[in-house]
């Protein structure tokens, strides 16, 4: 994993330099920079964050302080397929927890872990995606599924897993 990110970083340093340099000399840039880095890598690799901090002469600790504060930032790589279960109020009162429990079990995710060991799936919950009238909502790879039933969603995820196996 380590060398892989190092490699990735090296091949795209030029692009990253561009990303970072456009923020030089402007105020309040920590969050947009992290957002850009994450957009690029899919998460925040340590090397990239530290490299950017050094280049902009902002303390590394500040970057980490910010990165750990906001739920949008991921410090570890994420799975190939992202399954997002809405846990907003409307979805909760319509049974989103059942869906979450079911998927957690189906994907064999131990407590505190949300990406499968084979990196095929990341299961996450978010607060309200703003489609409450079709609650409960599950987003599978950016496709919004409204009025979702646990069994149907489980089936979809299973199918995705099978496709990955064959690929």
């Amino acid at each position: 994993m380590q060398s892989q990110t190092g490699f990735k970083l090296a091949t795209s340093l030029d692009e990253l330099r561009e990303v970072v340099d456009k923020y030089k000399d402007t105020q309040g840039t920590t969050i947009p920079i992290l957002q850009d880095i994450q957009e690029h890598f899919g998460y925040l690799p340590e090397e990239a964050v530290e490299w950017a901090a050094d280049r902009l002469e902002i303390p590394r600790s500040k970057f980490y302080g910010v990165a750990t504060f906001y739920s949008q930032f991921y410090l570890t790589p994420r799975g190939k397929n992202i399954v997002t279960v809405c846990s907003g109020t409307a979805c909760h009162v319509k049974g989103s927890e059942k869906i979450l429990n079911r998927l957690t079990r189906d994907l064999n995710l131990p407590e505190g872990q949300n990406t499968t060991d084979d990196m095929i799936f990341t299961l996450e919950k978010v607060n309200c995606v703003g489609a409450c009238s079709i609650a409960p909502v599950v987003i599978i790879n950016q496709k919004v599924n409204g009025k979702a039933a646990a069994s149907k969603i489980a089936l979809q995820v299973k199918k995705l897993g099978k496709e990955e196996d064959q690929a």
Partner: protein
């Protein structure tokens, strides 16, 4: 084909798209083209996430307008388009059975739309569409004909109060900022919309972004801000996209930028993407976040109007507050104040969701009763279950019970019964919802969103949550209830910011109105049958037909049995997920 004009409007909000709105749109495009019909297919609906007209539970909603005769269809899928074209557009006869029904009209009849007036009617991606409905007229009036103090006076007289939660009078906020001398002032639009059951701000930006921009420009001009920010959740990609587009269009037409409308006044708006933290909706935390820091609130005073972004005077207003501004300027303070109650003027947008039939986005005059909202507009409870409570104000709010349904919805009345208007989430609960679970849900939310700066909130919410968890698994004691109540009050009074101060509200209000449910949990019972650990599932051998549905649904293999013979459930293996209960068509799975 004799029709002179054909117009199709497809609801393309998040809700509409999820229901297949883009597929329907494509079907119309290709089939109308193939048939050689001239038509104007547009993304007519805007408040869309919720579906354009607010009723996105019925998506995909489609308007077919032939020569100014409009028919609205519900639940449209792409394979239905062909028949709509054949029978309605070519044949001139609307497809009766797909038309919206009475409840669609009931949903709209009792609403009064100010903020949402054009959401769902105009293409949000076209500035000309906005200008076509008097858009930017108010800005012109303010910039060319009114002195700043006159504008502020109009807003004060209208009685508009902030829609972001606290209800602070907007005109006064602007005046305070106006009176502060400074080389630089800012206006910030708060589009963080952190309440996890609310989506009106998103709808407004997705459906009518220019109204918010115009409101900001009017504010900026009147108290002298040259830079504005919209702080918007990154989780709202469609809103962000439309906002950027609208800003570009407004710049091109010189409603933003340098020397706006020849007045010599410069003003532009930047967009800041929030990174997912509820507390950043709080104004001082939001400012810290724009400055690139961890989004932690600080003690007030000083208030942002005195020392805000980078220490400069700053007005922060909610999206809906700002979207009201152009209408007030256009129609006058008196017109606005003619809606609502004595102290709460105008209309308010609510996200009516949960166990209600017509769930969606609604806008009503302040002072409308809950009964009207839930039973007339909302059409009553889904599946004709029994109404239990309505939760307003999200994690900072409380529950309102059946005997209070005739309460007027306004800032004062809701506060009196221990809830708040808040940002406008309104979640209807039925007999299947456990109130202890609802309280636990909100506590989980606030506990994980606590920024950790002050101890009462950081530790207090954690302890509260622990007690609630203990109760929902049936291990709570009578002392726990006493401790819960006392601690809730302590957290309320000792926390630094609004998050901690209001976090205990859901607990206190459920304790007040549903104490019996808490007590039942102490005896190991969940009356609503919602708390997993307190339930036991069984199969009634008499009623079981052996169809095998539950066996297939069971994720742990706890159910066994031969086909057409009664099945059995192994309690050891059962994880109480309820899949069998939900699948059984013969009511033979029991739950106690």
């Amino acid at each position: 084909m004799s029709a002179k004009s054909i117009e199709i409007m497809v609801c393309m909000g998040t809700g509409g798209i999820a229901a297949g709105g883009d597929l329907v749109m494509d079907a119309f495009y290709s089939q109308l083209k193939a048939a050689g019909l001239e038509a104007n297919v547009q993304k007519g609906c805007s408040a869309h996430k919720v579906g354009c007209r607010g009723l996105c539970a019925k998506d995909v909603l489609v308007d077919v307008i032939v020569d100014d005769n409009k028919a609205t269809y519900e639940y449209i899928k792409e394979d239905m388009v062909e028949r709509l074209i054949e029978e309605h557009i070519k044949g001139g006869k609307p497809v009766e059975e797909w038309l919206v029904k009475e409840d669609y009209h009931n949903f709209h009849d009792k609403q009064v739309k100010v903020v949402l007036a054009d959401c769902g009617n105009i293409d949000p991606e076209s500035i000309d569409a906005y200008i076509g409905v008097e858009g930017y007229k108010a800005q012109e009036k303010v910039f060319k004909n009114l002195a700043p103090t006159e504008t502020i006076e109009i807003i004060k007289e209208s009685g508009l109060r902030g829609r972001g939660g606290a209800g602070f009078p907007t005109g006064f906020k602007w005046e305070l900022c106006f009176k502060n001398e400074s080389d630089q002032k800012y206006i910030i639009c708060n589009a963080d919309e952190g309440d996890p059951g609310a989506f009106m701000d998103r709808s407004v930006i997705e459906g009518n972004p220019h109204s918010v921009i115009e409101g900001m420009a009017i504010g900026a001009f009147s108290f002298g801000a040259s830079i504005g920010y919209v702080y918007i959740r990154a989780e709202y990609p469609l809103a962000v996209e439309r906002l950027y587009l609208a800003l570009d269009q407004a710049r091109q037409k010189n409603f933003l930028g340098k020397n706006i409308l020849g007045t010599g006044f410069d003003f532009d708006i930047k967009v800041k993407l929030g990174a997912g933290a509820f507390v950043c909706g709080e104004e001082t935390a939001l400012i810290a976040s724009i400055e690139g820091e961890r989004g932690m609130p600080r003690a007030k005073p000083p208030f942002p109007v005195n020392s805000g972004l980078w220490g400069k005077p700053t007005v922060i207003n909610n999206v809906e507050t700002l979207a009201n501004i152009p209408a007030i300027i256009r129609n006058g303070a008196e017109w606005f104040a003619s809606y609502g109650t004595e102290k709460s003027k105008g209309t308010k947008v609510f996200a009516l969701t949960g166990k209600v039939k017509n769930s969606g986005l609604i806008e009503i005059p302040m002072g409308t009763t809950l009964r009207t909202i839930i039973f007339d507009i909302g059409g009553g409870i889904e599946n004709d279950k029994k109404f239990k409570a309505v939760q307003t104000g999200g994690p900072s709010g409380g529950c309102i019970t059946e005997d209070m349904l005739d309460l007027n919805v306004d800032f004062e009345s809701l506060a009196k019964v221990g809830s708040i208007v808040g940002s406008g989430g309104m979640i209807v609960l039925d007999e299947d919802n456990c109130m202890v679970d609802v309280a636990k849900y909100f506590l989980q939310f606030t506990q994980s969103e606590s920024c950790g700066k002050c101890v009462p909130c950081r530790i207090g919410t954690k302890r509260l949550l622990e007690i609630l968890e203990k109760i929902t698994i049936g291990e709570g004691t009578a002392e726990d209830l006493v401790r819960l109540e006392k601690l809730a009050k302590d957290v309320q009074s000792a926390s630094l910011c609004g998050l901690g101060m209001t976090a205990p509200n859901p607990v206190l209000s459920t304790l007040k109105y549903f104490r019996d449910e808490y007590e039942a949990h102490l005896e190991g019972r969940c009356p609503a049958k919602a708390c997993r650990q307190l339930l036991t599932y069984t199969i009634d051998a008499e009623a079981c037909t052996g169809c095998g549905a539950c066996k297939r649904a069971c994720p742990t293999g706890a159910i066994t049995g031969e086909k057409k013979k009664p099945h059995a459930l192994d309690q050891e293996l059962c994880v109480k997920c309820g899949a069998c209960f939900d699948t059984c068509k013969f009511n033979s799975v029991g739950r106690e």
